[in-house]
Symmetry: D2
Subunit: 364 residues, 4 copies
């Protein structure tokens, strides 16, 4: 409960620093007898790893995951699964240019204020490198949800800067998303985004954007009102990802453009099932999934690490300037798609298990 764990039943605790020995996680509460391999988890991790394309950071981290516990003869045993990603060359770098300086819009200042000490190497714990552990844990959740319930996670890059695709999220496929390095299912928009990111990179600058989250085949009934609503847990999950600034689901902030009579999702019957004609509810009504496609959007700010010089202060409270010399991502969104899917999967998995406590008691 002190911040580094997520979930009530399917509970993930992450650990590790950017340039320390490792990052990793412990997954407690995973159902037993599920086939899990390092190869499977690695495939998801590779979507997040640095250096995967010309528009991501050119840092080379292998991000090789090892299953250290909780799996026996290829299957989960119901005991905690520890996933470990060792860092390479963690002591080889020179940090003298950032050791005493607060990088603007990074966690350097707030971590030092809170803890009275700061691992300045690559941002330490506040680095987005921590999310590798989330992606690894999320891969396990995604696999179980796919196999048991056919749930699919189909998030993609909808917008970078002012370039946006208006593709219908209801019909987007995994193949479309993975067909280009920016993970935008509209290839024409993808080209424009790639061009924008490259220009921004050449300027020594960075740029933000919006990821469209999509979850298909979620059964009705997931979500635990009144505080642990599905919408509330998704919001928390997304806003816990580095660099996020906003979350909305269904009609989102655009709900102001509607009257109630236009915004309400009217019910009808299709194949003896209750369906809604529209989906302004984003698949969630009163905090509980209603069987429609769950959709949400997450805003990511421009990467704070840029090559341009910036005004700042140091730990001695003196004003100074800083200029990053590193190989940073000019835009985090292409790599963040896998993090959004992972966090969404952790939420759905936990809610599925929590809901099962109602179901089993009712049906016995």
């Amino acid at each position: 409960m002190t911040g580094n764990s997520f979930g009530t039943i399917f509970k993930v605790t992450t650990f590790g620093e950017s340039h320390g020995k490792c990052v990793g996680c412990v997954v407690d509460g995973c159902p037993s007898n599920i086939k899990i391999s390092e190869q499977y988890i690695q495939k998801e991790l590779d979507k997040r790893k640095p250096g995967q394309s010309s528009i991501t950071t050119q840092r080379q981290e292998e991000d090789r995951v090892q299953i250290m516990s909780g799996v026996f003869e290829g299957k989960t045993t119901g005991t905690p699964i520890m996933l470990l990603i060792l860092n390479k060359d963690q002591n080889s770098k020179d940090y003298s240019n950032i050791k005493d300086i607060f990088r603007p819009s990074h966690g350097d200042y707030t971590y030092l204020e809170k803890y009275g000490i700061r691992d300045y190497r690559g941002g330490g714990r506040s680095s987005a490198r921590e999310t590798a552990a989330r992606v690894a844990a999320g891969a396990i959740a995604q696999k179980i949800l796919k196999e048991k319930l056919n749930i699919e996670f189909l998030s993609y890059v909808q917008q970078v800067g002012n370039i946006k695709t208006d593709i219908d999220f209801n019909s987007v496929t995994q193949e479309q998303i993975e067909q280009n390095i920016v993970r935008c299912p509209n290839s024409e928009t993808a080209k424009q985004i790639i061009k924008l990111i490259q220009e921004t990179k050449e300027q020594g600058d960075s740029i933000g954007g919006i990821i469209q989250g999509v979850i298909k085949n979620v059964p009705t009934g997931l979500g635990e009102p009144v505080f642990d609503k599905l919408s509330a847990q998704l919001a928390k999950a997304m806003m816990s990802i580095n660099a996020t600034k906003g979350f909305e689901y269904g009609s989102g902030f655009n709900c102001v453009d509607f009257k109630g009579s236009e915004h309400n999702d009217e019910f009808y019957i299709k194949n003896e099932k209750v369906k809604t004609k529209t989906n302004n509810s984003g698949g969630i009504q009163a905090g509980i999934s209603n069987g429609e496609i769950i959709n949400f959007r997450v805003a990511f700010k421009p990467t704070p690490t840029i090559s341009k010089p910036q005004q700042t202060v140091n730990i001695h409270k003196q004003e100074t300037t800083i200029q990053a010399n590193g190989r940073h991502d000019p835009c985090v969104l292409p790599r963040a798609v896998s993090i959004v899917n992972a966090m969404a999967a952790l939420v759905i998995m936990d809610m599925y298990l929590l809901n099962s406590t109602l179901v089993i008691a009712r049906s016995t």
Copy 2:
């Protein structure tokens, strides 16, 4: 952990249904020796209560709070504080028109799917009436935070439909907010909003909007990365409120309009303190408060209960129409301001107490 509790240390558990015997809450983990009276809590509750003005529902609920435990001779004892609000006339109504029907964009359908049973009287547990308990609990948190740290909660209505004030949130006062029935600190905009709400009401329709959240004087260091970031907990808190569709803080979704060099909040020194020139971070960096004013926005959808007829289905999976005959709010925002403040206060209070576990251990 099954949904009706919020917070780790300052933990609030709410109970009760809209038209049952009562709504209320238990506040566990409240510091001792704090002066609390029913009169003080009542004042906050009155800002949320129905029937307070011409643009809110004309239902008359007194919402009279009673402190049932945890307070002795006017002071908290450190033991659980139970706050009880008895409902009036809970059995006098006729529910035959909604008993078997799913109201569009309400929780009727999802509650029945999840639980296999539904208290249909006024929405039961899914009614926004539950938030009265949150406002009561939040009043205690607000009082402690004001007295100990001078923290102020200054949320207000920023936008209804397409009418929006561009007033600077940094300078808004409590008096400006409470000067009109819509709780918009710009009295000119307020007039336009009142007109819009009244027109909408006459049409038998409803309308949504945006509440600007503002928290002043939060010390640095609050927030528990990596999952219980201050931003993540605020997002969860807000998205757990009925009718919310989106949350953003600082630059929010507008972060896409900036390059990193424009978006980063450069540091400078003022009166020997570290400050930022801009506040795109919304007072939160890497999930931890940085001492600047915390600001966020929450989108509320149009009230789903409207007088206009709507297509829907009933519990027998037959298509039908529904037309509310009740006295509903055409716009929830004026009353929701107190709920936003309450939930923000619960988050800050819990984070303050959690952070104290670091501080005391370090300083002893």
Copy 3:
């Protein structure tokens, strides 16, 4: 998590003080569609209530329970169930003799040290009156477990002072337990115990004893190693009851009298089921139920409130004497049987629901 809640899924939060307005609880996470009535809960409460026989306190508290939320048309709705027991005449007493004095082996001193304030009326929150709320919550758990799984809770008074029954707990029935006012299934021993309690009472003194806990028909698989073992949760549950001093299960402290070859419970097959020949494990192996009868023992100290004069100190750190003038229980055990059963039921219920998260995921 700040002390007044028990359970992860089936979560009970109690509130209230001995001589305040009320005691009560909120039960969150209760499965839906379960028939529950005030009459049923009352029956369990009556086993704990004061004044029920000549050997319990002659205080007259009706302990009338009201279901305030979470039940609709006689069935649970899956939402929080608030159970309320109003206190009678809470302000009529004179507390001048205990207001400033620490009663020996009561919570007066430690509560004041911890909280800096103390509700001295009848012990306030530290009074065993709080356990009425546990019995009410436990009654719901017992009903569900009986109906779904035929689980029975058959605790009884095994020993008071040095008078002890050696009846075989495996064959004890509810009828035998309830056949006398001391709740000892051996009527001969019961008579001796009643005599001992009456003599002790006449001396203005008090006496302790041991309750034998028995739970029948618990399925295999309950318990969440490595920390939330069934044995660990039972121990915590029992040691959270007022006046308890020790917990043991199966062979307990007598395990020192055995060699491993004698102590191990050898397996055999009976009707195609795996059974153990002996039950030194007390129905729990490695923290998980093994299908045998769960049995444990809980030691209760002599009631600290006695009529004999005692040396003590007051809040001004002056030495003084105290002499209770009240109507106290000379022995808490007869009334504590229902509390032991209630807490055991809360543990089993929570473990059953937690285990269901494994089962449902495996079987889907």
Copy 4:
């Protein structure tokens, strides 16, 4: 909350199996700026490690701990501390004799029943090897508590079989405890115990005993009634240790031998402090520490692994016999002393941090 985490603020999550790749833990919520080294933790671990003397198992495990995260330049950073102990030769053994057989009074049967799969190598997760991670985590807690509050953990072996020391726990020192291989502070008793263990070992058998827990210098005010009482948390902590059968504190089960007038701890004033003349309360009144020495006893059963042949059944539900050929501990108590101290330290540390949330709010 699914079993492998302990604590609310100072939260320890353990992972790993006996003969898998590793055991270890994540410590979240540790205060920052505390000096911690692998050498310091190793010293505590060495007290638990196998092969340390002639009366413990002759298995040779180095149990070398590595700090993998959360410590920077020798100090804690407030972020999760991952402690890793790699297993040696984990795949070299032959498990054919236990692969399909349920060892009596082990977790083999219940783990398979619960999870539907079982890591049979050396008991897998149910092995006491998991407690190495607890000792490592507990070492950090002990160091902080010693440095901040001078709290000392002085548990020792009080009894093995029917050989018992009656030494006064109030005066026992760390030196006395560590002066012999059995960790009994009375050297004469220690000699007899060593002889008893050696004889038992030669018989291919095992034997249990009692550890006396002692905690000195705990300030008043620790413990969170009504469920998370200090006594309840200690009971849970101890009963979560492998092979434990009972817990008692203060007078414990012997409380039946007293009348209330004899059992109550009368208060007096010493050096202007409130003290008790006796300590039947074991340093805890109403679930809160009262400033006296905390003392408790924990019963450990005879090790279930013995060389003598035993009747049992296999996974095919056939009756069979088993005979351990391994190098097991004939008596776990000498090594368990460090586990008792570790778990006690985790409880006290968590309670200290929880209590600080009250203190800071009151004093600001």
